[in-house]
């Protein structure tokens, strides 16, 4: 009898059990979700609230600090007129775009080669690329200062454009290998039988079919370079070549004095582009994780 009672019917596709009480769902789903949402989003809320507060209101905790009584855009105005913030934003976007393109170019080819072509050493090289995860930027930044100096790239955005692919390519290659493996081999073989060359089969069939994966890889690469901090901190000393993360942490703090309003305004503006990008492409993001983690 108990077993029969538990045998409930599912609405197809939703995973919702018909007859499940609202209170049960609230305790099981809505309340935990609400707690997670509040904890997750509070820092961003605090960032936004702070950026609209006047200097005196910032440090006034006698009334609730959770709301702005007298909103002002002064911090934003100051950020755009008195600091190099617009320049940092431009630099960040430029570096992120070019290093993403370079990484995609390299990892589409490498991913295809490792996932699809059969030759001696393919497995070993695939492993080798994966093992580069064991050598994170933290381990490389000191010797890299010598390499960058040899190439005369200090205070030159090319230093970042060339070094970011070292951590982007392994990730993208690994992710794209998953996508290429998911494309039926027969499609390419049919093209080969019809007289296409190997390169044509790759360009006309495999790469177009892997486009969702390429988009996901691009998204990851762009975000990772937008967020990068260590290399930019060390290779870029001149204010005009800094990226947002470095400019904001190094130049908006004067000695011991923190201009939290301005700092939070900059943090908010620096976060908006990636946040917008993600809200549009969150499905590709999940698909990318699936290909890399589940199939790979």
């Amino acid at each position: 009898m108990a077993a029969v009672a538990r045998l409930k019917f599912r609405k197809p596709g939703t995973g919702r059990v018909i007859g499940d009480s609202f209170v049960g769902r609230a305790i099981r789903i809505y309340i935990p979700l609400l707690i997670l949402l509040v904890v997750t989003l509070f820092p961003f809320y605090w960032m936004a609230v702070t950026s609209f507060k006047s200097a005196s209101e910032l440090f006034d905790f006698s009334v609730s600090p959770l709301w702005v009584r007298d909103p002002t855009l002064d911090w934003y105005r100051h950020l755009f007129t008195q600091t190099n913030f617009p320049r940092w934003a431009f630099n960040t976007a430029l570096v992120a775009t070019i290093s993403t393109l370079i990484s995609l170019f390299c990892s589409i080819m490498a991913g295809y080669s490792l996932a699809r072509l059969r030759y001696r050493g393919a497995d070993a090289i695939g492993w080798g690329i994966f093992v580069t995860y064991l050598v994170p930027p933290t381990l490389l930044f000191l010797p890299l200062t010598f390499v960058i100096r040899e190439l005369h790239l200090f205070n030159n955005l090319w230093a970042l454009i060339l070094t970011y692919p070292t951590f982007l390519i392994p990730f993208c290659t690994w992710m794209l290998m998953g996508f290429f493996k998911g494309i039926p081999r027969e499609l390419e073989e049919a093209a080969l039988v019809d007289g296409a060359t190997r390169i044509q089969a790759m360009l006309r069939i495999a790469i177009p079919l892997a486009l969702p994966g390429i988009l996901a890889a691009a998204l990851f690469a762009f975000t990772l370079s937008w967020n990068e901090f260590l290399y930019a901190l060390i290779f870029m000393n001149d204010s005009l070549v800094k990226t947002i993360p470095v400019g904001v942490t190094q130049e908006l703090i004067h000695g011991d004095e923190f201009f939290w309003g301005e700092l939070m305004a900059a943090a908010l503006l620096g976060s908006v582009p990636v946040a917008v990008l993600y809200s549009f492409f969150v499905d590709y993001f999940v698909a990318g994780m699936t290909a890399g983690a589940v199939k790979g």
Partner: protein
């Protein structure tokens, strides 16, 4: 023509296949050239060069002489035990946060895998901490943990969870370490959640149907279907996350930078402090190189824990 191919399809395909694959080697290597070039110049070469640097007395912008293992000796003996603090902290930081990120990520993924209104929006919102530039969100946390104007403490005091004025988050060694971990968990959990969610969505639904018909409870379905099916995702996520947490630099750099009194020192931060502001680049290289065997050790540990039971 079509029928002709079909009648002797097997041998023709087979021959064709062999010939095609014979010709794949040159293209295969050619496609790898750009990747290997970039990784060779900016990853493999600096790595090997870093090993050599750690054995010299080089300074910032000035190659020195070979001094053997003196940097490592100095690191182990002459730094008032900061080296050991950094090693212990690095392990604690990675271990403790990984446990929390793993369990909270699983909970988050289970919740997101349910049907509820505004699911897409909620999923995107919960992902935010992971995608927003770390340095920027950590600046917000630093302001939230401000010694005098901490909104966290304001909330704790006003909900009577802590006595006025509340804990001094970043000024007391234990609290500072806890703060570092809290923010790391806050930032890292969505990564686990999204990977688990991706893994859950490819589990065939009929497994659950069958289990329900057999009278399995929700908990039984979770432990005997969901968890085992998540094994491959778990492996990849754990590996990536442990490596990234172990070598984490930017978050801790912004939040505590080793303070107070080197109590939250991590190997990554310490290497930076010696190498760049301190100018002792070879000593910094020696410190960061310690990460490599430790990291290999940790990764081997993760692989061992998650090995497939035969």
């Amino acid at each position: 023509m079509g029928t002709a191919v079909r009648t002797n399809a097997a041998p023709a395909w087979h021959q064709r296949r062999v010939r095609i694959y014979d010709r794949e080697a040159p293209l295969g290597y050619l496609l790898l050239v750009p990747t290997l070039l970039v990784l060779g110049i900016f990853l493999l070469y600096p790595f090997l060069f870093g090993i050599w640097l750690s054995l010299t007395d080089s300074e910032l912008g000035n190659l020195g002489n070979f001094i053997g293992l003196d940097n490592f000796r100095f690191e182990w003996r002459n730094t008032d035990g900061v080296f050991y603090t950094a090693v212990v902290n690095t392990f604690l930081y990675t271990g403790i946060t990984t446990v929390f990120k793993l369990s909270l990520g699983l909970v988050m993924a289970l919740l997101l895998n349910q049907a509820f209104p505004f699911r897409r929006f909620v999923r995107a919102a919960l992902l935010l901490p992971y995608i927003i530039p770390t340095v920027l969100s950590y600046e917000a946390w630093r302001w939230m943990f401000d010694p005098t104007f901490s909104v966290v403490n304001w909330l704790l005091v006003n909900t009577h969870l802590a006595a006025y004025p509340g804990p001094n988050w970043l000024g007391v060694p234990f609290n500072a370490m806890a703060a570092l971990m809290i923010v790391n968990v806050w930032r890292g959990t969505p990564f686990y959640a999204i990977a688990f969610l991706a893994g859950m969505q490819v589990i065939p639904l009929d497994l659950y149907e069958a289990a329900r018909v057999d009278g399995a409870t929700r908990w039984q379905q979770f432990t005997s279907i969901t968890l085992p099916m998540l094994q491959p995702v778990l492996l990849v996520v754990l590996l990536l996350s442990t490596i990234l947490t172990f070598a984490d630099f930017q978050g801790p750099f912004v939040l505590t930078n080793g303070a107070p009194y080197n109590s939250t020192q991590l190997l990554s931060i310490w290497a930076y402090q010696w190498g760049i502001p301190g100018g002792a680049i070879s000593l910094g290289a020696a410190i960061s190189l310690v990460l490599f065997p430790l990291l290999t050790f940790v990764v081997a540990g993760v692989l061992f824990l998650l090995r497939r039971p035969e």
